[in-house]
């Protein structure tokens, strides 16, 4: 991203000199960045795959950019090419026309099959993952660290080089959770869980956000993802535990109300089983808020939960 932004400015500057003044100067906010500037193995692999497909596709795209101008010039009215108004078929051409794309798609398909399985968001990235439960709300994200017994709102701290296993659900409408520089997105849906495995190999701050429109606060529904080395992460956990705030069911009910948050919140302790309660709150009656206190019914809650054997298959 850093290297490419000036290029972007040069291109646009040629056309709109006035805009050159709009060059990025603010460094207070984390800049948006995509998988071009990957900070983890998943996003890096996704960008590699992106480039592979483009180079393979050039096999059929480049000839068009050569053939069309050539044909236009040569067979223009008054051009030198011979005129054969009744020529309309040739078996050799047909074989090439159908053959090359078919071979290309076979190659691309095998790459797709392998890549889709290798980088399945449900696939664990190693042993001892950092487990985090994510609840998407209007218009903020709640992160629960069950192993550490803490929680945060609109702030995701990760440990460098340690696999992360996110279990996601929604307390409200469907949303799509994404940290572009670390991994792709996955939907969060009420009453269901999805999973996203990711890893960061570069310390730093990366923007995460919701990409599925969900109303007035959508544009600003983002959070910093802070990747820190192991020791620093442990210190951060200790600091967060000092926070007097507790995330329990009543705090959660408050958070359910749509709001635009301007600063992260930190909860030093979390009511155990809260994530399951959020899930279970959608299996009962009409009053969702009341039902949140009901016991979850395990048979209903996880339509999308993959069985543990699935990871082993690969």
């Amino acid at each position: 991203m850093k290297g490419i932004t000036p290029c972007a400015l040069i291109v646009s500057g040629l056309l709109l000199p006035a805009l050159a003044q709009a060059a990025p100067s603010a460094d207070t906010a984390i800049a948006n960045a995509g998988f071009i500037d990957a900070a983890g193995p998943i996003a890096a692999a996704q960008f590699e795959h992106f480039k592979t497909i483009i180079s393979l596709m050039l096999i059929v795209v480049v000839p068009i950019f050569i053939l069309v101008p050539w044909v236009l010039w040569r067979y223009r009215r008054g051009g030198r090419g011979a005129y054969r108004p009744d020529w309309d078929f040739n078996w050799g051409n047909e074989a090439v026309l159908w053959g090359i794309p078919i071979i290309l798609i076979i190659v691309l398909s095998s790459a797709l099959w392998a890549h889709t399985h290798k980088y399945d968001p449900y696939r664990p990235l190693g042993s001892d993952p950092l487990d985090i439960e994510v609840v998407s709300l209007d218009w903020k994200f709640l992160f629960i660290y069950p192993q550490q017994g803490i929680a945060t709102l609109d702030y995701l701290a990760l440990e460098q080089d340690r696999p992360v296993r996110l279990k996601l659900t929604s307390g409200t409408v469907m949303q799509s959770f994404m940290i572009p520089q670390l991994a792709g997105q996955i939907y969060t849906m009420a009453g269901m869980t999805t999973q996203l495995n990711l890893m960061a190999d570069r310390a730093g701050e990366y923007r995460g956000r919701n990409t599925q429109y969900n109303g007035d606060g959508f544009a600003t529904q983002s959070f910093p993802t802070v990747v820190m080395p192991a020791g620093q992460f442990d210190a951060w956990v200790r600091d967060t535990r000092q926070s007097a705030q507790t995330l329990d069911l009543s705090t959660y009910q408050e958070l359910l109300k749509p709001s635009i948050e301007h600063a992260p919140r930190y909860y030093g302790s979390v009511e155990s089983g809260l994530f399951e309660r959020v899930l279970g709150s959608f299996t009962g009656g009409h009053e969702h808020a009341k039902a949140a206190s009901a016991q979850p019914s395990p048979g209903h809650e996880q339509h999308l939960q993959h069985t543990s054997t699935k990871g082993a298959e690969q």
Partner: protein, 708 residues
């Protein structure tokens, strides 16, 4: 009688202007301005019709007409009017995103949500759909030598249902608000719990009306193509546009139904407390996503296939050569149509399916790339060994070839689940589908208008203004959407009203410039029509064949008589009219004329249109008496129509003979023009044989080429 019994949930506050009075802000003023334009436009039309005494001709010659040609033109008029609105909305959104680089811009988040929802809904259901439907209506029966579609009244009803939907979406500018749920309207966001207002109801009913109209159109056209072909026109002698129309019709029959079901189920959730797609209580929004895209993906091909048919017609005409690989193109079209039903899941790879499911749908999606790629090369091979005339439709075609493959490449990228995880819901996706739809579908329709306008109205469109429009729109498209690819790759999601990242600003500025060029090009197109109407005497091509056309529609006068063909043609090959011209069979007087039976006008269709509009309006605002009345009235019209026994009238043979012989005499008396004079005022619509580069002149290159 309480207010609510009579007016339902309507109140003075529902009027768009009350917002501007109560909470004055730029956003509200923009909304009020849009509402004012609708009202002033409506008043303007009423005044014009009254002053010019056009009410009666409008009713007699157009609204009650069941002639497929007039219905086709009316569809395209709806498409153009709605296009202007949705294009302006796009410009407003672009300027908002540019203005919001370092602040909030001038639109509220809610207003922005309504804008992207109406923009998408209108562009798909009330621009692209009516445009292709109108074109298929006008051209397809003429190309197969038919006198009308199989069910002319049903055709008119389809039109009026679409018009009712379009009317509803226009009314929403003045009364109430529109949905903010996007054109795909995903619940639970669009459910009653999260979107309690009338907005989603406007979306549901306007889309439902349009989708029912399209289902009927699909049935009508498929039957017409199977049953109404003239003698000798076997399936494999049909022009390619007819093949694409057939595939589109089949897609319409099967693909519109899931949409109708999905919107009705969402309506049941909203009106009657059902739980199909709600959070909890057994509802599951994933069913909506599946139903919607079971429609939504074939829909993409419903739009694209007719445009691909247009490209086939345009290229072979302006190259003066048989289409290369006809059979290949037919099979490719059929492949696309069939495969389009098997790929819907690629719209939500991110919903948590297993890798196997995602991979299979990803591969299925890429397979569609094969027939599409074949088609592109077939068109290039059609130009090869031709005599290319760079007319406005050809410019659009060349632009299509070059930009469409880039869109295809990004489509293959999106078909890969792991890449899709990154660029789904981003501006990259927006860039991709605009890259397919603008150069492919929209420009295809513009090319079709340039190509068939002389057939419909008897005069050519001004070529200079057409080229000006092209040279404004083609770069406009590139500027408007290629920056979005870049932004999407850098983490910019779609549908965002504001930004915090200043590095995006230059790219949004480029996109804004592109949108302005697209707007300018559209103005040029309107100027082109106005100029052409003023110069219609110089531009007239009443003899019907301005481009040395190849299929049957060019063998009859422009505009064609109500009965299309005075004598039903017999064909014995592809490119029937070209062959007839070559062998001297064209423009021959038939041995005898006979009486022709044509369908009579009927007021049933416009009445059904009016009542379905009031029905939908009543449903949106919970005005139950209006709902019941409209429903009963619409069906009363249907029943009353079934008692009408005189549904056709006879055009006597003598009249047919007189008109047709006059046309043939004019053709014989007029000298034809070669393609050199195609764009000159000497072109009266009769083509003379072209002498350039006939086979036989052995050029040195021929040897090389025959080896290829």
């Amino acid at each position: 009688m309480s207010w609510e019994t009579i007016f339902g949930q309507l109140s003075w506050d529902s009027l768009v202007f009350s917002g501007a009075i109560k909470h004055p802000s730029t956003s509200e003023f923009v909304a009020s301005g849009a509402g004012s334009i609708v009202i002033l436009g409506a008043i303007g039309v009423v005044v014009l019709l009254t002053v010019m005494h056009w009410w009666k001709p409008l009713w007699r010659d157009w609204l009650t007409s069941v002639d497929h040609k007039k219905i086709g033109i009316m569809y395209i008029v709806i498409a153009l009017v709605m296009f202007l609105r949705a294009l302006i909305e796009a410009g407003v959104m672009r300027s908002q995103q540019l203005a919001a680089a370092d602040g909030a811009g001038y639109l509220s988040a809610d207003h922005f949500g309504q804008l992207f929802t109406t923009h998408g809904t209108i562009m798909i259901f009330f621009v692209a759909m009516p445009f292709i439907t109108g074109l298929m209506n006008y051209v397809m029966p003429l190309q197969i030598g038919a006198r009308d579609v199989s069910f002319p009244l049903l055709n008119a009803i389809s039109l009026m249902l679409t018009a009712a939907g379009a009317g509803l979406i226009m009314v929403s500018l003045v009364v109430g608000e529109f949905s903010t749920g996007g054109w795909s309207g995903y619940p639970p966001y669009t459910g009653i719990e999260f979107s309690p207002g009338e907005g989603v109801d406007y979306w549901i009913w306007s889309v439902t009306l349009a989708s029912i109209g399209s289902t009927l159109t699909g049935l009508n056209f498929a039957v017409t193509l199977y049953k109404q072909r003239c003698p000798g026109m076997s399936m494999f002698r049909m022009p390619l546009f007819c093949w694409t129309t057939l595939c589109t019709s089949i897609l319409m029959i099967f693909a519109m139904a899931p949409l109708t079901v999905a919107t009705i189920m969402l309506a049941l959730d909203r009106y009657l407390g059902f739980h199909f797609f709600t959070n909890g209580d057994g509802g599951n929004m994933m069913n909506f996503a599946n139903l919607f895209w079971l429609f939504g993906h074939p829909e993409v091909y419903i739009l694209l296939l007719p445009a691909l048919g247009v490209w086939s017609e345009v290229v072979s005409t302006f190259v003066g050569k048989r289409i290369y690989g006809y059979t290949s193109l037919v099979y490719a079209t059929m492949c696309i149509a069939v495969l389009s039903f098997g790929v819907w899941l690629h719209h939500f790879f991110t919903m948590g399916q297993s890798a196997n499911v995602n991979a299979i749908f990803g591969i299925a999606t890429m397979i569609i790339g094969i027939p599409t790629g074949v088609k592109v090369y077939d068109w290039i091979l059609t130009m090869y060994r031709g005599r290319i005339r760079i007319t406005t439709p050809m410019l659009f075609h060349i632009n299509f070839l070059l930009t469409f493959v880039l869109g295809g490449m990004t489509g293959i990228l999106l078909a890969n689940p792991t890449v899709d995880f990154q660029v789904h819901n981003s501006l990259f996706l927006i860039a991709h589908f605009h890259n397919m739809i603008i150069p492919g579908v929209l420009f295809g329709m513009f090319a079709a208008v340039q190509y068939w306008f002389p057939k419909a109205f008897g005069f050519r469109l001004h070529e200079g203004w057409g080229k000006a429009a092209f040279w404004s729109m083609a770069p406009g498209f590139l500027l408007a959407f290629f920056p979005l690819y870049w932004l999407g790759m850098n983490g910019a999601p779609r549908r965002t009203v504001m930004w915090s990242d200043p590095s995006f600003t230059p790219w949004f500025a480029l996109a804004m410039l592109g949108a302005a060029l697209l707007l300018l090009g559209t103005v040029f197109l309107l100027v082109q029509i106005a100029v052409s109407i003023r110069q219609r005497r110089q531009l007239n091509v009443l003899l019907g064949d301005p481009w040395d056309g190849r299929s049957l529609e060019w063998s009859i006068p422009s505009p064609p008589p109500a009965w299309n063909f005075s004598v039903v043609p017999h064909v014995d090959g592809r490119d029937a009219f070209t062959e007839a011209k070559k062998t001297g069979q064209a423009y021959r007087s038939p041995a005898a004329y006979s009486d022709i039976e044509v369908p009579r006008n009927s007021m049933a269709a416009p009445l059904i249109g009016v009542f379905s509009f009031t029905l939908a309006f009543g449903l949106v605002w919970h005005i139950w008496w209006l709902v019941v009345f409209s429903f009963v009235a619409a069906w009363a019209v249907v029943i009353a129509r079934s008692f009408v026994s005189q549904t056709t009238e006879i055009i006597p043979a003598s009249r047919v003979e007189a008109e047709h012989e006059a046309f043939l005499a004019a053709v014989r008396a007029t000298p034809g023009v070669t393609r050199d004079l195609e764009m000159s005022s000497k072109n009266r619509g009769k083509a003379a044989p072209d002498r350039i580069g006939q086979p036989g002149q052995k050029l040195p290159d021929d040897v090389l080429e025959s080896a290829l």
